[in-house]
Amino acid sequence: MRNIFVLFLLIILIASCTKETGSFDLSFKAIMKDEPLILNKAYEFGNMDIKFENLAFYVSDISLTDKKGGKVELADIEFISLNNFDELSASAGKSIRFNDIPTGTYKKINFTMGVASDLNSKTPSDFDVSDPLGRTDFYWADWKSYIFSKTEGSADTLRNGNFNLKFFYHTGSDELIRSYELVEDLNVDENFNFGLEIFFDYDKLLRKGDETYFDIKAFPRNHNPSELNVITQLVNNYIKAIKFRL
């Protein structure tokens, strides 16, 4: 009888030591004019029409912080491609599930747009070819930096149906790293998958400081480290272009 009692206590002890965990879903979605952004679809853009053709970026240092200030690291780096050619996939965006997150209510989520400087000091050769940071198409040796984001497309500047002006804006280098946090109660429960949607509004991303659209005709390309104006504006626009939905 005594042995059974001890065993019972032991089981309770072990059970209480086992921390309950749940999962947390993060969904990244591109929108344009408040609708899911579909690649190769024409959108009004000031006095011209544009089509997006390649939208991808790095997000690093994704973490949750609990009410006591404890941090749960979700990921060091994620490569997000939002290249969706139809309504269904554009609505779904790119989802990542983080498992084994201690259950509870978290007070905020933090992440960095771009490659955090500790990782940005490395090169693709430091990683496996299939690692997100092993991608050489997202590394620019002469910047000594990863390309944090690519926003590429074509413009019909005369609105005559010819999308013959190619544009691309590639961001990169430590000075263009931007960090964000969402202060909100975020519940991780073992019984259901908690999800957070992060929308990237490309209509707001490609605007100048005065809220008018980028002059794609005058500056259709930017990947030059000595000409950072346009891409600095682009990364500064994240604060207006990123929206959250629980």
Partner: protein
């Protein structure tokens, strides 16, 4: 007399039948356990400046696995009439290409695309072939055998031929520890070919030594070409090469329409490339960016071998190519002078490295 003769014939027929049966049994049921099986890891020395690659857990490199793959790669036994091997289209001294615009198969049948280099293929990800239709080397190696314009053979026949061969019985036993000849199959054959392909490493060109080893130097012309290739000097034009051909592997492993085809719309590409696999219209006419390592010895160029020389390639990129809706935004008129184009070619030639030809594990074992 007549009935007796018939009797003899009947006996002979039965004897013939039985002897055939016995012969079949002999090829099917051979016990291989007397042959030593002692797998030893193959130590692959990869250049320090290369990224890593993950070898499949179910197909580790072993000395005997690589050896078997090497033999199968060079042996025409995989083809219908024993005239064509993997090496027919992937010739070592051409960086494992074949020097033809479009590769030939059995009976000289013309294929559909140019042979791709296998150098550093261990590092390939994001799809193999020009259109990315295979995910792994093991998966890729299955296809050419039964391709109607390549080896035109049936894997069932190949397996039977290999099972009957005492040499391959031994090689398969040593590579994979099979116990009977009937255990020889296409799965093991392609695994060993993949092992062999993974050891074809090249990382000792002048480009490697200058960029990563700091123990060599470019000539002035090569350096000028390098500056344009990498857009490294604001005083020289940006030749836009490095966007697609970069890193130590000299490829981004992505798919692009580089403007070589004149089409009226995205349905007009004679070879849909990536689009034929993904079924995404916008992928039509996109092809995998090949490595530029050894580009000097892998002519002709492009997926259909349309450019015979590097000069023609440079002329194409300098022109800005043919516009299409999905042309890569970096393909644009470059306004390079003849001297500048020549210097870029000089730089490209620093990427040549055939040191792997001295590796006995890589060259033809039948010679």
């Amino acid at each position: 007399m007549r009935p007796f003769k018939l009797h003899i014939w009947l006996i002979l027929l039965v004897f013939l039948f039985l002897s055939c049966e016995k012969e079949n049994q002999k090829s099917e049921d051979i016990d291989l356990t007397q042959i030593e099986y002692n797998p030893v890891d193959f130590k692959l020395n990869t250049p320090k400046h290369f990224p890593g690659f993950t070898n499949p857990a179910d197909n580790p490199l072993t000395i005997d696995g690589v050896k078997l793959g090497q033999h199968l790669f060079y042996d025409p036994i995989l083809s219908l009439d024993s005239t064509v091997s993997c090496a027919s289209c992937h010739i070592p001294n051409k960086a494992f290409t074949d020097g033809k615009s479009i590769s030939n198969g059995v009976n000289g049948l013309i294929g559909t695309r140019s042979s791709m280099s296998l150098v550093n293929i261990a590092y390939a990800f994001n799809g193999l072939f020009w259109d990315g239709r295979s995910n792994t080397l093991e998966e890729q190696a299955i296809e050419p055998v039964e391709n109607a314009v390549e080896l035109i053979e049936d894997w069932d026949n190949v397996e039977e031929k290999l099972r009957r061969s005492p040499k391959y019985q031994e090689l398969f036993r040593k590579a994979f520890g099979i116990t009977r000849a009937t255990d020889i199959n296409r799965n093991l054959a392609t695994k060993s070919i993949a092992q062999f392909q993974r050891i074809i490493i090249s990382g000792d060109s002048k480009f490697d030594r200058v960029e990563f080893g700091n123990n060599a130097a470019y000539t002035n012309d090569e350096l000028d070409g390098r500056d344009m290739y990498f857009d490294a000097d604001p005083l020289t034009p940006d030749a836009e090469c490095a966007h697609c051909h970069n890193g130590a592997l000299l490829t981004s492993q992505q798919y692009f329409n580089n403007g070589i085809e004149s089409v009226s719309d995205l349905n007009g590409f004679p070879d849909k490339g990536k689009g034929g696999v993904s079924n995404i219209l916008f992928d039509n006419g996109k092809f995998r960016a090949p490595t530029l390592r050894n580009i000097e010895i892998t002519a002709p160029y492009m997926h259909d071998g349309r450019f015979k020389t590097l000069e023609e390639v440079l002329d194409h990129y300098n022109s800005g190519g043919h516009f299409a809706q999905n042309i890569d935004p970096l393909i644009r008129p470059l306004s390079l002078s003849e001297k500048q184009k020549a210097n870029i070619i000089k730089f490209l030639k620093t990427m040549t490295d055939t040191s792997y030809l001295s590796n006995p594990n890589i060259i033809d074992p039948f010679k």
